[in-house]
Symmetry: none
Subunit: 237 residues, 2 copies
DNA sequence: TCATTCTGTAACACATTCGTAACACAACTA
DNA sequence: TAGTTGTGTTACGAATGTGTTACAGAATGA
């Protein structure tokens, strides 16, 4: 029913070589990757970018991986994010203590294929965050159950396609979609439609959103479009 | 102000190991748990214990989960109980067929955290009140015990179908229903009736409600209909 | 700067969905 | 039985949604 979703993964490790290795493997598997070198920036990235999953190294200089996990779980806004611990062989206690906070662990060394398989398994058994939970950015509110979008309390008159488009954007903010990805996910896989049609629907959506909110739909030149909620410093890449 | 409610959840599954696992997770989250190993006892438990929610396995030996859902919906006394289907991965059709009758589904395997989150979400949006309590929106009053609906004191002359339709809407406001969901819940599970019939009954209902109240029944283009009470700034969270 | 590519915008024709009324038959009542 | 009410189906017009095209304007790179 649902087309495959491109997931955003945060990698937290103090060694940049490992980060890069992980990133390459994950990007080849179709994940979007974000980095963090220490717990502090990790927390910031999580808050602003809302990744679908975080890979956290057990051994880190200042704050340990376990401690970072605990902090993430403590904040209700981030408590539901699946966490995967990265441990060296022999750190058996990590597996025991770690699994009480994290959702899975991976032992170094590991093959990229194994890594990807484990992540997918974790994601599969984790809720696609709030598939019917309401989302709100700057007064723009999506109510998936009621199939309704309101701007500062006033309900917007959206066509079905416009609704699905905006719904996709709002549930996957800060992520750039190509036109064909949008056609795939909003129109449904097997249609053959001109790419340019997306542009027209974006135009209509922006018009309905009006001055205030239309700025959240950014065009990514040469690629497609992206939904940027405010107060998101979006410092990656 | 409502006292903290301890919700009673009924688990229906033929495998006792899964029942126990579920029960443990739910009890830790503060739910009261009741078991049933088959559809027959499930129906008895529901009738006598009136749980706030039921988790039902899709695949069961004698009566299937779907069939059980339909029976629960068919009995007016139990029709409004939120139902969550438990499906194995790959049973895609279960999700599609199931969601016409159930309120949500959970795919095995799942994490306890996911389970609890989903249940809370379902409870949040389905049972804000007791089933027999009267509901009133803008002078439109539903009296479930007396099976009567009055508008500003004058009682409305509704046909049985119209009554059940409006009752469903008023007990589940702000929620969009597809035509087949409405057929399932208002007409009863196994009838084969044209979708368009729903439109006609909506029309009749609107006519009876008149200028003032008919606006509460909104059509959701491409989907179905929704009951929108006025003054609902929806400030939850 | 110019040339080229990409995106915004409006207008149009076609497709789809929905509202409405009319009708036939079923269910119920007296 | 005859009359009344309830219900499902159908048909058609109106309203709305959608894809395409054309052109203007903006961004990009040499």
């Amino acid at each position: 029913m649902e087309p495959p979703v491109l997931r955003r993964v945060l990698i937290v490790d103090d060694e940049s070589s490992i980060r890069d290795m992980l990133a390459m493997a994950l990007e080849m598997a179709g994940f979007e990757v974000v980095h963090a070198g220490d717990a502090q920036t990790a927390l910031q990235e999580i808050a602003s970018l809302q990744p679908d999953l975080a890979i956290i190294d057990w051994m880190m200089p200042k704050t340990s991986g376990l401690e970072l996990c605990r902090r993430i779980r403590k904040n209700p806004d981030t408590a539901e994010i699946p966490l995967v611990l990265l441990t060296a062989r022999g750190e058996e206690d990590a597996k025991i203590t770690g699994l009480e906070v994290a959702d899975d662990y991976i032992t170094k060394p590991f093959s990229p294929r194994e890594l990807v398989a484990r992540l997918k398994a974790v994601l599969r058994r984790t809720t696609p965050r709030g598939i019917d939970e309401p989302v709100e950015y700057d007064g723009l509110r999506l109510d998936p159950v009621g199939q309704k979008i309101t701007a500062r309390g006033r309900s917007l008159l959206l066509s079905p396609t416009e609704f699905r488009l905006l719904q996709l954007f709002m549930t996957q903010p800060n992520r750039a979609f190509t036109r064909s990805q949008l056609l795939d996910r909003v129109w449904g896989g097997d249609v053959y439609i001109d790419d340019r049609t997306v542009d027209v629907h974006i135009r209509r959506l922006r018009k309905i959103l009006g001055e205030n909110h239309s700025e959240m739909i950014q065009t990514v030149r040469g690629t497609g479009y992206r939904f940027d909620p405010p107060n998101t410093a979006s410092t990656n890449r």
